[in-house]
């Protein structure tokens, strides 16, 4: 293998695939990045057997070939080189790569490319594409609600429902539920429901940051792998096997009290109360009082910690319905409030023991449900 490319391009490519390389693994070669010279491009591949990222970098290829080299080492070395032309040479019958740039050079021992786990090919099945901005927003608005604990594996992923021209992303961890709906650029032939690992989607979200073109999504027939095709990169993800719990029953169909408040104000006073809630299992109490003819409605947020103290904050609200009380975990509230773009949000509650709903005002594609905490009022 013999090729040369610009440090800037190589570094960008490595940045795209680098995070997909395994950090520790029983299969050591997954900690390596595959470099393959093919058709005037350099292909970079990394996988942790959960996702596989492939990226192509423009390069001048003099001789074809492939090798794998330790990801961390390669990335750190390339990033410390100046932005100049880099020559990469792999002598035949050897796995030691020589990297040379101006007055700097290094050789790195690699492993045979033959042993690198092949990237699963995802071709037929459900194919569609979606605007990268919309997908990115969707992932941001649901990913934080996935479970981090492995005891219920399906909850560590995001449930993606493709139907017609709509894509619904759902995440839940047993205490909260986030549902985001977006439009697809092209309708899918058949309805498909898959669970994509949250880690992969967060990685995809990172890659979506610098791209404006739509993303092509393909899900294979066995529903075992999904492919996301970006401008210069491809991300293949393994899909979590199992069925996502039926969440539709969790979403309350009606409410007795609805309060519309300013998102930033709400976030500020929730965070304020969370300081006190730290020592009280994270509990913050919400009291929603309807307004009368002269006074506006208000929402009171308070936290009480035994022996330490407590705080009470108030904000104006447009209240519809009767007075209501409900208690939430402060973190769950601030998590959802901090990802909303809309200026106003509606809280809908019924009783202190039934779930509360958070709805951004002005859009109807996002709904967030939080289970209440049981407290003595």
């Amino acid at each position: 293998m013999k090729l040369s490319c610009l440090q800037e391009n190589l570094s960008r490519g490595l940045g795209i695939v680098g995070r997909a390389a395994a950090i520790r693994s029983t299969l050591p070669i997954t900690q390596n990045i595959l470099l393959a010279a093919e058709e005037s491009r350099l292909k970079l591949v990394a996988t942790n057997l959960e996702m596989a990222a492939t990226c192509w970098v423009g390069a001048k290829i003099e001789e074809d070939g492939a090798v794998t080299i330790p990801a961390r080492l390669l990335i750190d070395f390339v990033n410390s080189l100046p932005n100049e032309l880099i020559d990469i040479t792999l002598p035949s019958n050897s796995h030691a790569v020589e990297i040379k740039s101006g007055r700097f050079q290094a050789h790195i021992n690699g492993i045979d490319a033959q042993d690198f786990p092949p990237v699963p090919s995802v071709s037929d099945g459900v194919i569609t594409n979606v605007t990268s901005k919309a997908l990115s927003d969707g992932i941001t608005q649901v990913a934080f609600a996935t479970a981090t604990e492995e005891s219920r594996p399906v909850l560590t992923g995001i449930n993606a429902e493709f139907e017609g021209e709509r894509l619904k992303l759902v995440a839940a961890d047993g205490f909260r539920l986030a549902v985001h709906e977006m439009a697809l650029n092209s309708a899918v032939g058949e309805k498909a429901m898959v669970i994509i690992p949250a880690r992969t989607l967060s990685e995809l979200n990172r890659l979506l940051g610098d791209q404006e073109e739509p993303v092509e999504i393909t899900i294979n027939q066995q529903k075992s792998q999904a492919l996301f095709r970006l401008k210069n990169a491809e991300l293949v993800s393994q899909l979590i096997q199992g069925s996502f719990p039926d969440y539709s029953q969790v979403i309350p169909q009606s409410y007795t009290t609805r309060a519309v408040v300013d998102v930033n104000e709400f976030l500020r006073i929730t965070k304020m109360s969370s300081i006190f809630a730290r020592d009280a299992s994270g509990i913050v109490r919400l009291l929603i009082t309807p307004g009368s003819e002269l006074t506006p409605g208000k929402v009171t947020v308070s936290a009480q910690a035994e022996e330490i103290g407590g705080n009470v904050s108030e904000m104006d609200a447009l209240v519809d319905g009767e007075e209501a009380k409900i208690a939430f975990n402060a973190r769950y509230l601030s998590d959802v409030l901090s990802i909303l773009h809309q200026p106003q949000v509606a809280i809908e509650v019924t009783t202190p023991s039934s779930p509360g709903v958070i709805h951004p005002v002005g859009v109807d594609n996002y709904i967030h449900v939080i289970m209440p905490m049981f407290v003595q009022w």
Binding site: R24, L27, T30, L49, P117, S151, Q222, Q238, Q241
Partner: protein, 338 residues
């Protein structure tokens, strides 16, 4: 072609399950160290991922990758692997496996997760494992390998199919050594006896003369101690005691050599010379057997067993071994009884 030898019953069972596609989701492979548990586990993994019509073929790409530990869907965790601490297989390792188990196979047809020396699973890790064994995801086969079944949680055992590997007859091992590995008949005979039905040991001893050298050193010591003075015996007890505190397994291996030696003495005394393990020491054994009574041999064997059990249960190793040495028949008692 299965590479495991002498386990025909298990192989028939597996062959039939493979044909009917009715393999269990989890197996426990039990048997003494080096008996072929890992070989069988690798074979099962190959069989499940093989592209050939008669799995495991051992030749296709999947089979070759699995054999060399390069297959993405076959994961093996051991006590020494990077993911575990040195003393036990912890809960984090199992969590990692659980995550892997819930993803579909990456390049093959079936994920195979092998836990080597499963007796080293910590209690939390075992309990974590129970949950996955209870609700097994599709296309995943668990293989738990263990030499010490009593140390596994009964709840784990009850959720897996037990495959007990039997010691392989010496003739089969001898044949394996001479035919497939080109080892001289005399050496093959000795190894096939010494390995006590564990082909793995015979193969590694054939490749590594060091193992045989070590054994020779041990045997010479054991042989000489019967004639040795009390001081020599106590020095030996102290040495063995310190080996035990550093490396339990090495000490247990020495105890096992003791057992084979005295077992041989008993066999000779009982007139069944053909079955002895230490064939290369036949003459010495015969001479010693002549000087001892059957009762003495029996009593010392019982003593050996008890000491082995006692030190495995953490009594003071040096004290137990000193007491053992005191019970070792001495020259004087030998002449008394003759």
């Amino acid at each position: 072609m299965w590479q495991v030898i002498g386990q025909d019953k298990i192989l028939t069972l597996l062959d039939n399950s493979l044909k009917q596609n009715s393999l269990a989701h989890a197996y426990i492979l039990l048997g003494a160290p080096h008996i072929g548990k890992m070989t069988l586990a690798i074979n099962i993994a190959q069989a499940l991922n093989c592209d050939d019509t008669k799995p495991p073929c051992g030749k296709c790409q999947s089979c070759r990758h699995i054999a060399t530990g390069k297959h993405a869907d076959v994961t093996c965790v051991t006590l020494d692997s990077k993911l575990t601490s040195r003393t036990e297989i912890g809960i984090d390792t199992i969590k990692e496996l659980q995550r892997t188990a819930n993803l579909p196979p990456y390049e093959g047809k079936c994920k195979v997760l092998i836990i080597y020396e499963a007796e080293y699973l910590s209690t939390e890790a075992s309990n974590r494992l129970l949950k996955i064994l209870e609700e097994p995801p599709q296309n995943v086969v668990w293989l738990l390998l263990s030499a010490e079944e009593p140390r596994l949680l009964p709840t784990i055992i009850s959720r897996c199919q037990r495959l007990v590997l039997k010691p392989v007859p010496p003739e089969q091992i001898q044949k394996l050594l001479t035919d497939s590995n080109g080892i001289k008949a005399s050496k093959a005979k000795l190894l096939s006896r010494l390995c006590q039905g564990c082909p793995g040991w015979a193969l590694s001893a054939a490749a590594d003369d060091d193992l045989l050298q070590q054994r020779k050193k041990r045997i010479d010591k054991i042989k000489s101690l019967v004639e040795g003075t009390l001081t020599q015996r106590f020095t030996y007890a102290q040495q063995l005691g310190s080996i035990f505190s550093k490396d339990r397994r090495a000490a247990m291996k020495i105890m096992d050599t003791w057992l084979t030696w005295w077992h041989d003495l008993m066999l000779i005394k009982g007139g069944y010379e053909e079955a002895i393990t230490n064939v290369d020491y036949g003459a010495t054994l015969k001479k010693q057997a002549k000087e001892l009574s059957l009762n003495q041999i029996k009593e010392f064997l019982v003593n050996l067993f008890q000491t082995q059990k006692a030190i495995s249960m953490n009594v003071n190793a040096r004290l137990a071994l000193e007491s053992l040495m005191l019970n070792l028949p001495t020259k004087s008692t030998i002449t008394d009884k003759v």
